[in-house]
Amino acid sequence: MNFCPEEVLEHIFEFVTSHKDRNSMSLVCKTWYQVERESRYGVFIGNCYAINPVRLIKRFPRVRSLTLKGKPHFADFNLVPHGWGGFVDPWIKALAKACPGLEELRLKRMVVSDESLDLLSRSFVNFRSLVLVSCEGFSTDGLAAVAANCRNLQELDLQENDVDDRRGHWLSCFPESCTSLVSLNFACLKGEINLSALERLVARNPNLRSLRVNRAVPFEMLQKILIKAPKLTDLGTGSFVHDSDSETYHTLKSAMTNCKSISSLSGFLDVASCCLPAVYPLCANLISLNLSYASGINGNELVKLIGHCKKLQHLWILDCIGDDGLRVVADTCNELEELRVFPSDPFGPGNAAVTEQGLVAICSGCPKLHSLLYFCQQMTNAALITVAKNCPNFIRFRLCILDPVRPDPITMQPLDEGFGAIVQSCKRLKRLSISGRLTDSVFFYIGTYAEQLEMLSVAFAGDSDNAMLYVLNGCKKLRKLEIRDCPFGNMALLKDVGKYETMRSLWMSSCELTLGGCKTLARKMPMLNVEIINENDQVEIIPDNNDRQKVEKMYLYRTLVGPRPDAPDFVWTL
């Protein structure tokens, strides 16, 4: 069957961009494997330790866009100690030598140094897009290098990174010749920036579509930005505090009135409620609204604002909106697809103002809802069953009850039935986080019904090893499983060791695993890295008869390249 020349194959393959499809194509035959690997420009590596730079470059020599993820998800919540890993430096060094055509780099939960950013900025002539999400280890000096040296930079997107802000003039390092910017997001930076430099930057980049500024950019700047960036579709404000009787305020309001293109609004890192009406003119066109950092707005003001947003599809909000506020959202935002409700008191079970009633209201009014993250005071089985009935389209369903073992407050039952309803009804569910009082039953339901589930997050749930086994046996598409504070031990871990090769990773902390169990797993499965994170010298690896000691944190993942050479002292790969 050699009637199809490789050039034709390559041309056809160009239309296939999904990683999963490309991976499948490469398995068809040797010819397809070769053609595919030489024509793959966008490479996605979900775990940077599953492979190494040398092998990446060997297989995909023409890579132009690389996505890398480093630390496990629970690192977001301080469960992974500083220094664990996820260093991007070796990747940039290798790519600098072998792939000068690199154009895009997207990193999530990785450690990035100023030196790497500097090397990046000088090594890739066509570099155009840098996206850093939840990264750390760099400062504004690194950003200055990127700004100064990347001649064709289109996108610099910094999302929720921990950046050492040296209060330098990194923004001023964009040369006058930089006119290619399409997207600039520096909302997570804490320091001052040069405002006139920002103004000039915006003015000379006519293609700017997305601009998210930080807290240091005051209210007065917004009007100047809007005038100079007529193509803006995504705006993130900085500080939104001003005297609402002033001329500045009214000027901004009229600028907003003339602004038909903005469909996405975020920021409000400092905000005074009296200024909010300035953005009302934008509301009718808004598709996406992120007020989750706007702690200065009370529930009523939020409701007034959202009442204007009939086209909203994505809403991130604080729980001070309350159940009543969510009822207004349900009435107004019938196109809603994604909702995230964050706690305004994130340091513990406080006075969270939303309950199951808010969620039920939303699901009644928003049938297109498919992604949910909901921090609440309480949840009932009845509510979850209603939600499951009204919204069978959930792809992501993450519920966090602030008291992690709270049962249904009306019936005092565990929430097994409620979550069971969700997994049975939502046949496309890919991601699930459960909380509240939960027994083995909920895991049985998940294993039985959640056929498309790829990621499961569990905390303080289950009664026995059977729970974990139900999930490992039943969820055929499971890729990531993260568990904390559950009574699962060696029996569950070791029952089906082959399963872990079909998954990206497993995290278990504060469970019942012992060192002996983890060692057994590592011995049986050489294709896995079984890492013990040993803070505070809790576990001694010598003498050998201490296999019964409990392991506080275990992280295992499949890999093609064996134990990683950069593991710190407190991480043991068994």
Partner: protein, 226 residues
């Protein structure tokens, strides 16, 4: 190809017998009234479990028990002083019924937690034994212990603080006395700087002190070296 354990198959088959499509639909057809809940309650479940049993089964870990397990439970190793810093975040040993703070709970990103908390400033006093006056640093300005130590070095230039976290000791080159970097946390306890993740430290630190080693009797014991 993932092998299914034989025992688990039996449980699935048994469950399949319990559930019929009609039953499932009945459960999902639940109307608003919570009182109908019990009658239409899904009866699918692992065989052998009584539906009448209350929410708690005997082996279920309660919230407080969980915290105790973390602190003092079956693993004797957890009682060593090195675990003190973890205990600091879980003080249930004193008040099981109180709303204790768990590490990493609720699962909100550190950056978001910090953004909610402060208006951007977190000034704490820094005292050095023997110095005539105190200084103040804004912990919001720093993202790591290393950067804080650099700033402290600039402020109190007579000490080599930079290598603190490697060497574990400071010496005053003038009179040879040793210093320890300590901080007072929200509970009023004096702790050694460096044990806990930076973000948690920045949130819980109320003041910082460079203490002479001879005065460190009341400080929490240091993790014994490996």
């Amino acid at each position: 190809m993932v092998a299914k354990p034989r025992e688990q198959n039996l449980e699935f088959e048994a469950a399949e017998r319990n559930l019929s499509p009609g039953m499932a639909n009945q459960a999902w057809g639940l109307e608003d009234s919570a009182t109908d809940f019990k009658e239409t309650e899904l009866t699918l479940g692992p065989p052998g479990e009584s539906r009448d049993a209350g929410g708690k089964s005997g082996t279920k870990r309660g919230f407080c028990e969980t915290l105790d397990l973390n602190l003092t439970g079956s693993n004797a190793k957890r009682n060593d002083p090195g675990a003190q810093s973890q205990q600091e975040a879980c003080p249930t040993a004193k008040h099981p019924a109180a709303k204790a703070k768990l590490v990493g709970w609720p699962p909100v990103r550190a950056l978001r937690k910090n953004a909610m908390r402060s208006d951007g400033c977190n000034y704490v006093k820094v005292a050095v034994d023997g110095a005539p006056y105190l200084r103040k640093v804004d912990l919001e300005m720093y993202s790591s212990y290393k950067h804080l130590s650099e700033a402290l070095e600039d402020m109190f230039s007579c000490f080599t603080i930079r290598n603190y976290f490697n060497a574990g000791k400071l010496m005053d080159p003038v009179d040879g006395s040793e210093y320890v970097l300590a901080y007072e946390d929200r509970d009023g306890d004096w702790m050694m700087v460096g044990d806990i993740p930076w973000q948690i430290f920045a949130r819980s630190c109320k003041r910082i002190r460079l203490m002479k080693s001879s005065e460190t009797v009341d400080i929490e014991p240091i993790t014994p070296p490996k």
